[in-house]
Amino acid sequence: MTVLQKEHAYKMGERYGLHPDDGQYPGKLIIVEGIDGSGKSTQIDLLGKWLNSQNLVTVFTEWNSSPIVRRTTKRGKVEELLTPMSFSLIHAADFANRVHAQILPALRAGAVVLADRYVFTAFARDAARGVNREWLRRVYSFAVQPSLALYFKVPLDVSIHRITVGREELGYYESGQDMGFSSDREESFRLFQGKLLDEYDALTEEFGLMTIDATQPIAVQQQQVRKYVEPLLEDVMAISGQSVPEALGRAGLTGRYITSPMRRRLTELEALAAAKSDG
């Protein structure tokens, strides 16, 4: 499945001289996008569990999580040092490090890589901050083309309701307060997220992202996700066709009952006994 249209095709090796290969990897890259509160993280988590239950090797990567870059980003956010361009560049640095250290090696090994947010997050957020759209596409031209890109579309009211239930405080940058839309944080958040929805609509068209109606029940969405994912799983890496506990058991490493209720009870009793003998 080609997700990105030809004119923006991210052909590895074309402009980024570090990878002499042709961009053909045995692994698969599945990415999810959507505004805060769209439920995409829940969906990719469920997808990962489903893939793991089939003994497929999955690697999870998250936006803004590079071990060598994220502290700088965090400092920039906490101390409010970031401006639209530095916000954009530091996130590109984080992404580059994850492509190099996580995404590419896993794809070459044949794993399923699950990415919570991808370049489209940068395209939406940075463009909403006035960064040049064409420049963003060229900066991120080293990104690996996803095998599947899912966009979880949700109306603003629904996402805001989910967020206000689920977390204590909105951040300065996630509310777009650096842009001076409004001095009221909630109002600013609403305005900024609205702009992001517009950007995502345009990106869906430009890059052919698969849209999932994120107002549906979680289980219904997950069924749709799995239907898109299933055809991609033919050649990906599995752990020898048996469940992990079973495989370990056969190798004589843990025994068969490691996950059974009996085994769990036994562990509890052992812990109690140990506590008693300590006291």
Partner: protein, 230 residues
Amino acid sequence: MNEVRFYGHTPPGAGDEETPGRLVVVEGTDGVGRSTQIAMLREWLEAEGYAVLVTGFRRSELAATGIDRAMRGNTLDPMTLNLFYATDFWDRLEKNIVPALRSGMVALVDRYIFSIIARARVRGVSPRWLNDVFEFAVVPDIVLYLDVDVEHLVPRVLSVRQLDHWESGEDFLRGPDLYQNFITYQSALIDEFRELAKEHQFVTVDGRGSVGDVFEALKTEVRKALEGMS
């Protein structure tokens, strides 16, 4: 008045109005004597009555510490380092250099985007992509390039300190021979600088001369670049 020109699009936050200041860049490889010359240029310019801002690599409030920390580890790849440098550069461009130009100062910059680009090119990063990334940079009024060949560079560096891991390209060159790695890396870097000098019309100054001779040559060029400044 000077108009601020960018290599590509005008980035948000930099302003695109006319500016009375001048942007003077000094480029050259490690150990060529840039810092000495910049210190002397600053003193001379201030004595001539100019307000001077000096800024250099890895000095931004935002990213300097993070880059230093990342360079102490061993997981830093060329693309990430390049974008980290780009962040550091932008932070200084936006918060130091452009304001200095707008207020009528001479911004004297020790290594600009060209050192970043040369280092990344040597490590195999696409020149076209690098030009794309750095198109947000302001086009300097003059780029003074201190050129030296590797034979003259070695004694200069060795007489001051021992050879450095990064300056010997040991993040990507293999083998235990530090001296050979330094030669290989610095030769490749100098080749890239000479290539960039052609692409971007640097004013090349022979860095093999005495400190005094180089300084005189630089002064002549800077004087020309500052002509018409009030």
